[in-house]
Symmetry: C2
Subunit: 486 residues, 2 copies
Amino acid sequence: MPCSSPSLSNETIKSHHAFFAQLIGCAYCLSETRDIEKYCQEPRDKFHGRTWLVLRPANTQEISQIMTYAYDHDLSIVPQGGNTGLVGGQIPDQTGGQILLSCERLSEIRSIDPNSNVVIVEAGVVLEQLQKAAEAVQRFFPLSLGAQGSCQIGGNLSTNAGGTGVLAYGNMRDLALGLEVVLPDGRIWNGLRSLRKDNTGYDLKHLFIGAEGTLGIITAASLKLYPAPVSQQVAFAGVDSPHHALDLFNLAQSHAGSILTGFELIPRLGMEFVFKHLDGARDPLSNPHAWYCLLELSANSPALDSGALIEAILTEAFEIGLVEDAALAQNHQQGQDFWRLRHGMSEVQKGEGGSIKHDISVPVSQIPAFLERAIPACIDAIPGCRPVPFGHMGDGNLHFNITQPVNADKAKFLAHWEEINEMVHAIVSEMGGSISAEHGIGTLKRDLLPGVKDPIELQLMRQIKDLLDPKGLMNPNKVLSSDRLV
Amino acid sequence: MPCSSPSLSNETIKSHHAFFAQLIGCAYCLSETRDIEKYCQEPRDKFHGRTWLVLRPANTQEISQIMTYAYDHDLSIVPQGGNTGLVGGQIPDQTGGQILLSCERLSEIRSIDPNSNVVIVEAGVVLEQLQKAAEAVQRFFPLSLGAQGSCQIGGNLSTNAGGTGVLAYGNMRDLALGLEVVLPDGRIWNGLRSLRKDNTGYDLKHLFIGAEGTLGIITAASLKLYPAPVSQQVAFAGVDSPHHALDLFNLAQSHAGSILTGFELIPRLGMEFVFKHLDGARDPLSNPHAWYCLLELSANSPALDSGALIEAILTEAFEIGLVEDAALAQNHQQGQDFWRLRHGMSEVQKGEGGSIKHDISVPVSQIPAFLERAIPACIDAIPGCRPVPFGHMGDGNLHFNITQPVNADKAKFLAHWEEINEMVHAIVSEMGGSISAEHGIGTLKRDLLPGVKDPIELQLMRQIKDLLDPKGLMNPNKVLSSDRLV
């Protein structure tokens, strides 16, 4: 049964539906509940929306025609990629009146040029598919994250995705050379350049990257490729404090420079959760340590002895007392096993009950100070709660998650979500940090933004939104509130 | 004698002058010809302007007050850094009515944090001063270009400067973490974040970077630092064609990855100019070659044997017939000498008469095809002219300069400037390239932009200019024409 929209009459709905069916084909205009359900909720089951229509256009031209029509008829559009976003940016609201536009059928890799290290992909290409296409031409696409088997490039760009490759290769923004975008009024901006250098005016692509679909729909992108690394070294080190973890990071980076491709931080409690809930997980070290660092080096040539380099780093770290113990992966599989401990961190927390989450960043050198303030503050606020801060230390980015006290009531604990968020975000703000390092704003953090953002910056964001989307039809109420009084 | 402005009465000028003198001090409001001359022309002597007032404010607050007053009184402002720009962006027009605002007194390094690899600098800091400040804390600031002894960070950001470090570290845009900007109406946007990851809304800094002062004045920036390389290898290789140069680049990059920090292309004719006009320049190779490549590797640790790596690259290049001959710098001085041959390329062309210049980029793999089309086209158009295309091959960026025929009349040759530009830029555009890879648009290329840019992109640029600078007072007529009919 189709979902109805409160703001549209049945006649109007029929007429719109007929237009879209004629435009992109009836089979690609979904309105039956069983067909649209999966677009209206996301895997973490936190955000649920309603819609009267899911459109699955085949190409940029169709999207342009959809947007022109939507603009002329004041129809709101929510773009969606692989539907893996964590802040609700891709989910329509509860009114049922917003149209969901899925980019999943724009799934072509338009061209790949290993000699220029450039690939042009459409928005609906799945990240893993792009990684494999790069491998097939002896190249490497460095964006890497948990959802890579289902997230799509359009969403990766719209949310400026991060993940584990940021330390050496940057965020998704840094991997983009050019974009093709359909604007809210249907105009197509072809900015699909494949140039490393281009100083011919304002760099507009950065407006759309990270805008979470509120300024237009990214339909294709020209992206950087890299030479494929031929050898990797992965080490797992036990340290006694975040201070020593920071010192180890700086030591490793000063030795390895851009060859240091990963530096992650894990607390002991996180490791205990992993051993308990992740099948086959084993401690690489013989004794427990307060904190753990995962280091990864990647080299492009057999002439670069990354094994000697990581041994030099760890030896110096031992000598100056930074590291208590360390294990070096002896082969590829063992390196994967070390990474699996880190990648399992999100999942295993579910086995311990409710978790209040943050995705924060501070200047890298402030990580220890942040932890020294935020951990005790949480424990003071909810005695017995169990902070499990882990993540991309080399980027200054931690997933500062708090697991409920043992045997506590999950709902009662989660009722503290906003109170704990507010407290942690206040510390982050005082330290010049970000309340959303890599997940974005969506609806989850939209109302927090005015509290942490420079008012002039918010004014500028609002001005740009009004300029590009004067009717407020593009992914309404995401990032910026549609209610001007807020 | 002060320069007069046609649009302002003497009374008005006096009143404005009095306001500014009271605000920033009389000594910092220059209106005598002998004081303002140096701000109205630039070292290449191509652009000359006039102004009735040069303002030298001391800080962001003063700039904000100047801009507020200018906005209220409809006064045009031309911001200027080290005055080394090559496209006239920093020079006032001929009317004498525009006020020049120099950022040179904002010359403080506000903070430097080697543990976070972040430095916060004001707009007037000279690039070389920043490089030295980084060195003093065992860090490296990678932007490197000919004018580094006088160009300033504000200008580097406003023009998204390139140079020789782009291959491994990116353009100036890629080095910026945050900005402080005074908007055309005097509002101060404090976006001075020092975070590696921050997904809290639109990334506004990229609007101002590369906007050549047309959207506001960048007053300070938070910039990335890197661990300092401890060893460098520089090699000079002779190859028979741009095709082999491209293959050598790809070979080197596939071996060295991000350790390959420089890859430059020089034609034989350029080398001959260097030997003739650059004191003490010597050919590193015993026989002449049609083309030369300069390769640089930089390693952070003694544990990485960059010497073995460059030898592996060159050996393989010999074996597969890419390289005819190569010399490896035996010490730091010799490496510097190799680089001096490359850095001398701009200067030595002056010794051969007039030169018609281009600063183009194409996708890296298209460099050979571009040269195969553009060189014969120029020689067809002006028989005897001498193309000297050189530059940052690894970035797909060439300074495609054409030296006049031997003994030709310089003025007569230079009269072909626009005709040759048009022809070369047409080839560039067909290949998806850029007519200004690193120098920007300014006034020099402003009127070329509509011919090469996607019309939607130009519309968007115009919309953003109107949004942020509704009165058109910020660096008028640069990048975009002030005349709406053009």
